[in-house]
Amino acid sequence: MATATDSDLDRPAAEPSTRTISASRRFKDRASTVLVTLAFLIAVVPLIWVLVTVVARGAPAIVSATWWGNSLSGILPESFGGGVYHAIYGTLIQALIATLIAVPIGIGAAIYLVEYGRGPLARTTSFMVDILAGVPSIVAALFIFAAFISILGAPQSAFMVSLALVLLMLPVVIRNTEEMLRLVPDRLRESAYALGIPKWKTILRIVLPTAFSGTVTGVMLAIARIMGETAPVLVLVGYSRAINYDPFGGNMASLPLLMYSELANPEAAGSYRIWGAALTLIIIIMIFQVGASLLSRYSAIPK
């Protein structure tokens, strides 16, 4: 559709001159095409550049025999041995705990906004969800630090990290679930009401199952987003080179925290581990991303 004359099959073959496009208009049209295409290419460059860098520099580490099954316990900074399973564990457990807390609250809040919310409270809630989505992770971490560690005297721990991650996950889960619930047609709700099913059971047993795959997709994207968060782990938990299974006490590694602490390691092995951990993190995030987009194809929502 680059010109206004392309579909006029029933016009005379020789176009009247008033229908041809002046040179300057055609030039502007061509130039805009070139420019927007260029913009897209520019946007893709950093993605490819980052991914290629991480894969090229991280590959040697992740194919090492000890990478996935060992920790760095007892490994000297200059040694290339050891692995990151302690950090993988930390990343996953922190995300898991955050998910367990954020998902019920997030789905509850979305149900409130879509099914029950009316008036000023609902408007305020919706507004605050947007604000929460914009709260920087360092601020979320500081808040957990101020409220739980400074004031309540809780020790630094992986659990504190999870609490901060809850704040970062919530808006993503809420917005996504909201969108899915709104896609469920009202006629399904109405026919459930007409069967004498109370509203809350209609929501739990008819509406939520219908929106299920979309909701899970949203949760997986939220998990993918928080697993790379570094600010909360910097503020809320100490680094450990050994495995610590206890999320409620002690230092615990995670992939971002391991990368950050190895930044202080001037040896070649430091950079080896940083990029290895970066690639590992990207692989884990990609698993969630791809899982999410596969799942999003199985929607029960009728057209």
């Binding site: 109405e190 009401y193 007409a194």
Partner: protein, 258 residues
């Protein structure tokens, strides 16, 4: 089982908009009552007030009395959920629950009301599907998704679902308008069977259908758009279609309507 419905001085509003004015009518048990009239005259609106579905719309309001066997369904002690257990509804678009199998769709109402007994559920499932003339077609695919059936089958599935909770009254809002002629015929036959046990109120834009299935027909009209709709007259179907009292009805029936 089947119950009688009386509407007394019913006025219906959507916020400030007065949608339906001063409706008085009686629906007798074990009969089919059809509502006809031009689109927008408030047929669906009246139907939805009969089981308080109306309340699901923001700002919607009903004045007057709607009595089910003499009991006002809008009484403050009456629970809308319980009203809907007694008065079932079938909608214009077939809408089986997409996550449920055929069987689960039929017994959804009972299950979600807390019936656990597997044997009872299976019995009700079969009985309802038989009553909806659907059993033969789906008995081998009870565990398949309800959304996989044809449009006409889906609509009969929805009717089976509605009668599985053993309502006293069945409301149908243009149940055939999304269906092909053959499925429409199947549903009309079904309505004739069902009226031996239920009180049925059906909205239809198809006058032949009203003539075929109903015992009593109510004609709704409205003076102009923006004005409230009202019940012009309600009488035996034969009388309405052969010798209506009102000129407006006569005009509408004979197709002379605007």
């Amino acid at each position: 089982m089947a119950k009688r419905i009386d509407l007394k001085d019913v006025d219906i509003y959507y916020g400030a908009f007065h949608a339906v004015q001063n409706v008085n009518l009686t629906v007798t048990p074990r009969s089919v009552t059809a509502f006809i009239g031009p689109s927008g005259c408030g047929k669906s609106t009246v139907l939805r007030t009969l089981n308080r579905m109306h309340e699901e719309i923001a700002g919607a309001r009903v004045d007057g009395e709607i009595l089910l066997d003499g009991e006002n369904i809008y009484d403050r002690n009456t629970d809308a959920v319980a009203v809907r257990r007694t008065i079932g509804m079938v909608f214009q678009m077939p809408n089986p629950f997409p996550t449920m199998s055929v069987r689960d769709n039929v017994v959804a109402g009972l299950k979600l009301q807390g019936v656990r007994d597997r044997k009872k559920l299976d019995e009700v499932c079969e009985a309802s599907l038989r009553a909806a003339n659907l059993w033969k077609e789906v008995k081998d695919r009870l565990d398949k998704p309800g959304g996989g059936l044809s449009g006409g089958q889906q609509q009969r599935l929805c009717i089976a679902r509605a009668i599985a909770v053993e309502p006293d009254v069945l409301l149908m809002d243009e149940p055939c308008s999304a269906l092909d002629p053959i499925s429409t015929l199947a549903i009309e036959d079904l309505i004739a069977d069902l009226k031996t046990e239920y009180t049925i109120v059906i909205v239809t834009h198809n006058m032949q259908q009203a003539a075929r299935v109903s015992d009593q027909t109510g004609f709704f009209n409205l003076e102009a758009t923006g004005k409230p709709g009202h019940l012009v007259e309600i009488d035996d179907t034969e009388k309405i279609f052969s010798n209506p009292t009102q000129q407006a009805t006569e005009d509408y029936i004979s197709g002379r309507f605007g």
